[in-house]
Symmetry: C2
Subunit: 254 residues, 2 copies
């Protein structure tokens, strides 16, 4: 049986993954999207099941999510994902999140991934994996009606708005701060009172460098003339001088 | 078709729910257990689907988890759950977490639940709901080979080891700090270096009072003569004098 280019996977807005307003948290939606990406790539032979034993892995470089309406608690939905394009060192993967009941699109996503050697942490030529197997699953035609990630530009004057210590629960199986946890920490820069009046319409995140448990994370934030918020996370590492940028993000509320 | 007393539900150790050692985080295991409890009670007519429209809900009062071996990343497993007993204001619900591959028991759980009126926040007589429907599903015979929760006794000298602010992501759909987030904050009192040498063998938590976003949580910890750790969380609320106890917990490492 031929496997389709796109794959679609069922999820549900679990109660403990929903906020005070009974809407799925953005971080958990991001988590479900990354799960869908894993199922899709494993089903097609270029996922971590194939890569891990060969000391290779996918690394998320950028993620953009645009939300029409966050699924309400208990709502069943599907995440469809496919690869839009691939170069030697990056692939573009898209997502559509739709409700099971009426197929209504809840959200869309775009992501950029690299592949690295887990021993050397160096990039690997994606097109050489299984003789370019991934290329046979590229779907250039399928529409993803949201803009690609843009460059997040911030002035040096952006004030520091929070600093947090990183803990055991922040660390993923690569020993780094978990991609999803950064999203959670960023959305936490605004409080419940703010979310009673606003919701996130578009969220972008770019992963610039890694951080580890024990690092202290400093959050800098400023508003653009268009009313969007840019956030930069810098890590403070014991034994290193100064701060190192780890994440840039842009958040648009409505 | 008659519905069995116990219900069993499939889960998987999702990659972003696993720690640096590729083992499922305790908080996420707890989350999956609460999901299983929700499926089980909804399938049998006394879950939140029935309760919410009637302004009633289940409230978790105590949870104890004993772990033989945490499921490794990507491992499929089932959580079986059933009600062991019920009184007017409390039910006891048990859990067995077993691997799909060889049925090996990964962990066991015991929990205590109350039912409340969501308007008055007052306890409700569980045995009056649907003419005591829940009683027809009680299974007294099924074994759960772990001890019930014990009373966590701490001296007034237990030192404060951490204080944290609560954020948007800590709050659940009832507007309170999420039961699972407390577990995450407690396991975070130890760092990655500690977890490289130790794993949690038994974890107990008792939910004493509620806290809200904006509250500051103070963590007090001391070791018992048996080498277990007791943790008390006290909330500091703007406009209230002093600290109020919200959670007590006991953690045993091996």
């Amino acid at each position: 049986m031929e496997i389709s280019k796109a794959g679609s996977y069922p999820f549900r807005a679990e109660p403990f993954h929903c906020d005070f307003d009974s809407r799925l948290f953005l971080g958990h939606l991001g988590n479900y999207m990354l799960n869908a990406a894993e199922y899709h790539s494993n089903d097609r032979g270029f996922g971590v099941t194939y890569l891990y034993p060969r000391h290779l892995t996918w690394v998320l470089s950028r993620l953009a999510i645009e939300v029409n309406e966050m699924p309400a608690c208990f709502t069943p939905f599907h995440i469809e994902t496919w690869v839009e394009s691939a170069m030697r060192y990056f692939t573009n993967r898209n997502f559509v999140i739709s409700g099971d009941e009426d197929g209504r699109p809840f959200a869309y996503g775009r992501s950029v991934w690299a592949m690295i050697d887990t021993d050397t942490r160096q990039p690997v030529d994606i097109l050489k994996i299984r003789d370019g197997l991934l290329l046979s699953y590229i779907d250039k035609e399928k529409a993803c009606p949201i803009a690609k990630s843009s460059r997040v530009t911030m002035t040096p004057d952006a004030p520091e708005v929070r600093a947090i210590d990183t803990n055991y629960s922040d660390v993923d199986l690569n020993g780094h701060i978990n991609s999803i946890k950064y999203i959670e920490h960023i959305v936490d820069l605004w409080d419940v009172a703010w979310y009673k009046e606003h919701r996130i319409q578009r969220f972008e995140i770019a992963y610039v460098a890694e951080s580890h448990q024990g690092d202290r994370l400093h959050f800098f934030r400023e508003q653009t003339p268009e009313g969007e918020y840019c956030v930069r996370i810098m890590r403070e590492t014991l034994g290193e001088e100064g701060l190192t940028e780890v994440v840039r993000s842009k958040v648009k509320f409505v």
